[in-house]
Symmetry: C2
Subunit: 351 residues, 2 copies
Amino acid sequence: MAGHGARGRSGRRPTLEEVAARAGVGRGTVSRVINGSPRVSDATRAAVEAAVAELGYVPNTAARALAANRTDAIALVVPEPETRFFAEPYFSDMLRGVGAELAETEMQLLLIFAGSDRERRRLAQYLAAHRVDGVLLVSVHAGDPLPDLLAQLEIPAVISGPRSEDETLPSVDSDNHGGGRSAVEHLIARGRTRIVTITGRLDVYGAQRRAEGYRAALRDAGREVDEALIAPGDFTEEGGHRAMTHLLAHCPDLDAVFAESDVMAAGARQALREAGRRIPDDVALVGYDDSVIARHMDPPLTSVRQPIEGMGRAMIDLLLHEIADDRPAASRALDRRQVVLPTELVVRDSS
Amino acid sequence: MAGHGARGRSGRRPTLEEVAARAGVGRGTVSRVINGSPRVSDATRAAVEAAVAELGYVPNTAARALAANRTDAIALVVPEPETRFFAEPYFSDMLRGVGAELAETEMQLLLIFAGSDRERRRLAQYLAAHRVDGVLLVSVHAGDPLPDLLAQLEIPAVISGPRSEDETLPSVDSDNHGGGRSAVEHLIARGRTRIVTITGRLDVYGAQRRAEGYRAALRDAGREVDEALIAPGDFTEEGGHRAMTHLLAHCPDLDAVFAESDVMAAGARQALREAGRRIPDDVALVGYDDSVIARHMDPPLTSVRQPIEGMGRAMIDLLLHEIADDRPAASRALDRRQVVLPTELVVRDSS
DNA sequence: AGGTACTGTGGGAGCGCTCCCATGGATGAT
DNA sequence: ATCATCCATGGGAGCGCTCCCACAGTACCT
């Protein structure tokens, strides 16, 4: 596989210059062939390719990076401790999409965790050294200084889940609004009349959008939106339990719950059990994320699925464009690239 | 944090040369300071450090890599599909150890999956380009050509789990022999008399060692080793079930089972259940790996734990030495570095 | 006083590539 | 036949660093 021709134990790797000599052409021409420039005659190209094969030539990445001022590497930055990274299937799905899309290219993917302060300092140093051509940002919390740092260093970046309506970074997101709407439309179609919702942390933009989707679905069905039926959660199981308990107290005749994350749905389910409500007979329950717990819940939970792998692919797509785009950053900011991917409602027994 | 002094929107990063000019010294001196050479006077060092801070200087990695012929990066190569990587806590633990040990250094860790043929070709290309200073190999199967490729390219590497008694690569392993022995000694201490074992795939060196540990423990207790009590498994749940069924048929009076992996223990447990044997009353059961399933089994499984995080640390240790060691590979091969870490028996209700 | 040894320092050379300008031959228009 | 154009091609310059040799200065011996 590797180790053609004369090389092997020599230890020295052939250089462009040597390939050029062997092929009887100049250095520039070999470079053009290696980089797939069209400005090379077929005969010359063939000769160079033969020389490359004979010598087992492999370009020196460091030299290329130095001369061309690019690294051919991009980083997937995860501002979470590694533990969460492994625990949540979200990241693994995302990684699969990113990896698949990147396989087409010569780009190398780096996985960087920035959960602790120490790791974040390291990351800052790393970015300052421009060791990557671009950055993929996942699960960034509001107020995180990372996006600004990237902008200041003028490093192309794409964020998953815009931080607000007017996110300045190119972003990829699933259709939270549509997802929330589809959950509620489903409940309406099932004949439910008193539909409540448990929202996520409203400083997360996506959570707001889900809640707005809830409202939109009700309005479109000609129903009135009762703000008392909307309880804020915080994406945790306890939060879901608390919100559900609150809702049951203030609105005992509810017959459907849209929990805006599966984890909160698990908390809500517990609270409903404690209140003696049966699922789905007395109360229908719909979650969001279609995570593992959705499938394993009793009864299995209807949930809104996001196309996470597709989001990963889309992020790479955007980022590669961003990197290729060598216009000054100022004008680039004009065409805000925001990709929104559709969600899918996965109906199970809970509704 | 980043973006001191004049830099920021300029786009151009300061170079060594500029730092030198600013500090009123030569290029070489700045390089010495940056690289922590002791051959610099305190006054000069201070001046250079000030200039570095003022200019916000960050070394250019590509230039350094080119000039010094090193990359300051090492790769953790996982010859498995990503799915398994995320599924098995083994990798996550390993990664934690590796990351912790590496945090002390300037080294950058790359995670490379080589599950598919395509990925393997990519990896070969990657290694041929010498894009890393060293490689960490985990869960390598017998017959894998990767170790040879690394040897041929003269890339320092460390393997977790030697492939045989005379592994040529530096390796880190847990004490499989001692682990197997401790499991059986425990069963003996508990008063069990007819102890059987289900081995792993015997083409895996570690599996052989565990089985030998079983034999050693029996011999040391003055008991005779009956080869009929040893059934080969294959590390799968079905294999464990099959082996257990076989053992029950041929040795109905067995009162203890040492399954050489937790997964096989799960299979064995099922077979014991089907045969109406109670655990631990009729039959004691011990597994190996102390994986998640051990804790969650009914009854919770006694199991042999390997210090995986520690193994990760040890691998980095070995590898960094290997990299620092610039003696020719031939003489280096003489001092085979093999680290073996002790295991720990975690006793639960199954024994 | 001269010699030796060491220490801190400056700067040339060179790592292997890309970028770009210059060159020369082929092609087509006049 | 003449000139402008258009390739394909060669090779100089330079990317930012490390390595190493040379040199001045100081210290300590004869």
